[in-house]
Symmetry: C2
Subunit: 230 residues, 2 copies
Amino acid sequence: MAGGGMERWCWAAVAGAALGLAVALEALPWALRRLRAGRRRRPRHEVLFFPSQVTCTEALLKEADAGCAAGPRVCGCSLPHGESALSRLLSVLLAARASLELCLFAFSSPQLGRAVQLLHRRGVRVRVVTDCDYMALKGSQIGLLRKAGIQVRHDQDLGYMHHKFAIVDRKVLITGSLNWTTQAIQNNRENVLILEDEDFVRIFLEEFEHIWEEFNPTKYTFFPQKKSSH
Amino acid sequence: MAGGGMERWCWAAVAGAALGLAVALEALPWALRRLRAGRRRRPRHEVLFFPSQVTCTEALLKEADAGCAAGPRVCGCSLPHGESALSRLLSVLLAARASLELCLFAFSSPQLGRAVQLLHRRGVRVRVVTDCDYMALKGSQIGLLRKAGIQVRHDQDLGYMHHKFAIVDRKVLITGSLNWTTQAIQNNRENVLILEDEDFVRIFLEEFEHIWEEFNPTKYTFFPQKKSSH
């Protein structure tokens, strides 16, 4: 009887410990969710510095054009085929599946222009906001984008529309000092931040929508004023 | 005896439950540390959009000049005295206590120039990197900073030193599209990110130190080449 009592005592202790652990385990999913949420709050970010090494972007653009199923195309040109700041920027853009907002002071890079047209053909909703002074310069991609059927709006202000940001799939913000020109990409010291961060994306998307509405063509006066230096 | 056994049984169950909870509680500090670390990893960030409302920055600058002990000064001018994008930018800069790195394409804002000189007088180690073409333009603050004894270095490249970033006390990164000019502050559409984030600060500080060494005056050739458009 004493032995049986001890046995029950032991079993009771084990059952109690199990109960305590069960209570703790009950809280575990909550704790894990909090931990995961904590991790999610940390944005995935990347910084690109320019000038970018001149590398071949042909394979990257052809691969994106053909779709993933076709696999990577090979380019036989004499340029280096490694990764560069420009190829990283292109890769982030080419990952777009649903939408792309561009808010760019100057846009004349043929590779970036080709990437944007490619996304438009793929069915991505592309919207572009730009500066009226720079969009008419020789080499600007803006005319080509418009010809391809992409919606473009521009300012009519005394000040410059000097932003240089893009939003991919309402998930990734690309922003920095870089105008999308070959001069800037190949020669200037520039930075670009790539931020997968819902707060930043929301804030910049609001700015984009605000400017998009403000630059509605129904409001164009066709008497733009001359700008001063920036 | 049976009653005593039951009592012991109950106590054993309670003791076991307590043990189980103790195990769980033992893990609690670890879980809390992880949660706090998760929160710490989330950077404090702020986005400023320009054009900035024109507000009086006199009180802010006078207060910073006099030191906190003197309390805020009052300015009786007719400008609005509320917060603006420029006043926020000034506040973040004026919080510097040890160091300020500036990497700026164009710098002609008198208020920002005054803030930088004030920090230099206060003993903050200020270093400036800028673009050689823009530093000689009328209204540039660069000459005034040099006269005040602040170290300035500039490029001699064909490309522009087009960055627009600042690092405060090796803790806060300020970066975006904004050149530090009155035109940009008051008329342009611009963005500035303020990031208290050790990863971003480290990456941009490395870029600064790299440029700082590259622009060492011992390497100046005094035969700068003409730049093309940016």
